[in-house]
């Protein structure tokens, strides 16, 4: 699910005007559906403390391997824990990590990309390092980093951010490369504005749109990758309920108790689908020229 690399010098949009862009965004069916899906799942996750019918951590050996029923809507696992409750709390973890990775890569990747695109001499070395980072499959790199750093939610965010930072940097760089040639940037230079000021005041604001789109996709990728990490046991440490972790819990019992793994997987799919739809909507609304390029 890479793709942004294929972005051929994505032309950044003229500066996003809030009211017009927002109206276009909400009028876009992809974005509306995406927001609905993502929003519904996110709200369920945020209200987990109230919505969860049971304590997600409490073992109860009398209710082991209960199939879905009126008391346990989505069944229980081998420790008798309620799948619904664990899933609801797992959503919280996924969203925290996804959002964290999206923000961290936006800041770090955005800065790297801006520097590489703006100062030509820095471009070569920086992008070689980014190329090298991208040579490692993102998921594999994140697994190795998370394992080396040790199990914690923060380390998962760090590991995934390192893995996904090159994509963001590339998108930002491509945007900056285009914007820096715009006449008003030349103008600002001509009247003697300092390079840093030109970059911060004139180039960056206009190179933002592709980044916003990209980070929506990075959010989705991070949610998927976090699930993989948790599934393989290098995610946030137990007993934290994670979506990938619940799937892993059900893995050895897929024959006898398939419900354990199925529910959290569907939830992941809904979150990611929602985010991807929102990304598509953002892409069309913020910058129609990106339409053919990304993803």
């Amino acid at each position: 699910m890479a793709g942004v690399e294929a972005l051929p010098a994505a032309a950044p949009a003229p500066r996003v005007k809030a009211p017009g862009a927002l109206a276009r965004l909400l009028a876009h069916p992809s974005f509306r559906w995406g927001l609905l899906l993502f929003g519904a799942v996110a709200v369920c996750g945020l209200l987990a403390d109230w919505l969860a019918p049971y304590d997600p951590l409490r073992n109860n050996f009398r209710t082991r391997f209960q199939p879905p029923s009126e008391t346990f809507w989505f069944g229980t696992d081998r420790f008798g824990r309620d799948i619904l409750s664990r899933t609801l709390f797992g959503i919280q973890v996924s969203l925290r990590i996804g959002l964290g990775v999206a923000l961290v890569t936006a800041l770090v990747g955005g800065a790297i990309g801006a520097v590489a695109g703006f100062w030509r001499r820095a471009d070569g070395p920086i992008m070689r390092v980014m190329d090298a980072l991208m040579a490692f499959p993102a998921v594999l790199l994140a697994i190795a980093l998370a394992a080396a750093l040790g199990p914690s939610e923060l380390n998962v965010i760090v590991a995934l951010s390192i893995a996904y930072v090159p994509r963001t940097a590339r998108v930002m760089r491509a945007g900056v490369l285009v914007v820096r040639e715009f006449p008003f940037v030349e103008g600002a230079r001509a009247i003697g504005a300092s390079p840093t000021r030109v970059l911060l005041r004139h180039v960056l604001p206009n190179a933002m749109a592709p980044l916003v789109v990209q980070q929506t996709y990075v959010f989705a990728l991070a949610v998927l990758a976090e699930a993989v990490l948790s599934f393989l046991g290098v995610g946030p440490p137990p007993p934290t309920p994670t979506l990938g972790g619940v799937i892993a819990d059900g893995r050895d019992f897929i024959q006898e108790a398939p419900w354990i793994s199925i529910t959290p997987g569907v939830v992941i799919a809904l979150v990611v689908l929602g985010l991807n739809l929102m990304g598509d909507g953002l892409r069309d609304a913020l910058d129609p020229r990106l339409r053919t390029a990304i993803r």
């Binding site: 750093l149 046991g233 059900g250 199925i262």
Partner: protein
């Protein structure tokens, strides 16, 4: 063409150098003592000292680095602590599984993805377009390892059509190989299929507007030749460039898919090494996967030139 190939090769070298440096550096980010982490809390001081000696941790870092590159140049990736086997040998043993999984998935993703994309572009705006693009979107929104589990449950447990996992070498039993591959490769292919479908659709829409497509129709070529030969040959050029990237994503995905389907590949080796902190294997596995990625992308660049005569002749 030769100059183009040589140029690509040269530009891959610094990337490979940084890749090898990063692979080596992964042990340095381990907080605390690597040896303690590897040997576990029960290890005696003597065992720890032996382990440090074997890992070369007793030497200063620059000697370690020189040692790593020295061994690398001789094709030596070090010793696995747990397998009591050379890392290189351990990987080579498992490579056929991973490569057949990855490339089968790439083939499925490419063929199905471009087909979906062409269909969507030819029927742009119609129901078939929406169905194809919806499939693509769902394809890269589903967690593949979870889908693998669901497929195992469905096709192996409920229907009993396919094995739940395991690997059969192609040379031993091609049919068995295909049966063992179809589910894992198909699952793995799904997300990249979506990517190919989107890229192909966008490229086809662009190409179908070109004058030379009108020329082909003016020559009386039937629709399928206009689309399949004149348009697709051009539309595939940008699509092929992402095949290399897709291959990298698939290599990463193979790590978890191998675990789900119990395939004895490099991915499972690495996951096992990660769970047991077998750092030489992690380093070697990372280095090897990244090198494969760089080489595949080199191959893709050459394929790109083969598809586009303008590049072959040094224009553009």
């Amino acid at each position: 063409m030769l100059r183009y190939a040589a140029g690509r090769l040269v530009s891959a070298l610094p990337v490979l150098l940084i890749v090898s440096l990063l692979s080596f550096g992964i042990v340095w980010i381990v907080p605390g003592d690597v040896a303690v982490e590897m040997a576990g809390p029960t290890a005696t001081a003597e065992e720890l000292a032996r382990l440090r000696e074997r890992l070369g941790l007793t030497k200063p870092w620059h000697e370690q680095l020189i040692g790593w590159y020295g061994a690398l140049l001789q094709g030596d990736l070090g010793e696995s602590i747990l397998l009591r086997q050379g890392v290189g040998a351990a990987i080579v043993e498992r490579l056929p599984v991973t490569l057949s999984l990855t490339f089968t998935a790439l083939l499925i993703a490419f063929v199905c993805g471009t087909a979906l994309g062409v269909l969507a572009a030819v029927r742009a705006g119609k129901a078939a377009d929406r169905a194809a693009m919806g499939t693509a979107l769902i394809g890269f929104s589903l967690p593949d390892f979870w889908l693998g589990l669901v497929f195992v449950y469905l096709f192996a447990v409920v229907l009993g059509w396919l094995p739940t996992g395991g690997y059969v070498p192609f040379t031993q039993d091609p049919l068995g190989w295909a049966q063992a591959m179809i589910l894992p490769a198909g699952t793995l292919a799904l997300s990249q299929m979506g990517l190919f479908a989107r890229m192909t659709r966008a490229a086809m829409l662009e190409v179908l507007r070109q004058d030379y497509v009108r020329t082909a129709r003016a020559k009386g070529m039937p629709g399928w030749i206009v689309v399949g030969k004149h348009a697709l040959r051009n539309a595939l050029i940008p699509v092929v460039t992402v095949a290399g990237i897709a291959c990298g994503v698939l290599l990463g995905g193979a790590v978890v898919i191998e675990s789900v389907f119990s395939l004895p590949g490099v991915g499972r080796l690495i996951v096992g090494a990660i769970q047991r902190r077998d750092y030489p294997v992690i380093q070697g596995g990372l280095l090897l996967t990244a090198t494969i990625f760089v080489l595949v992308n080199l191959a893709v660049d050459l394929l790109y030139a083969a598809l586009d005569p303008r590049i072959r002749h040094g224009r553009r």
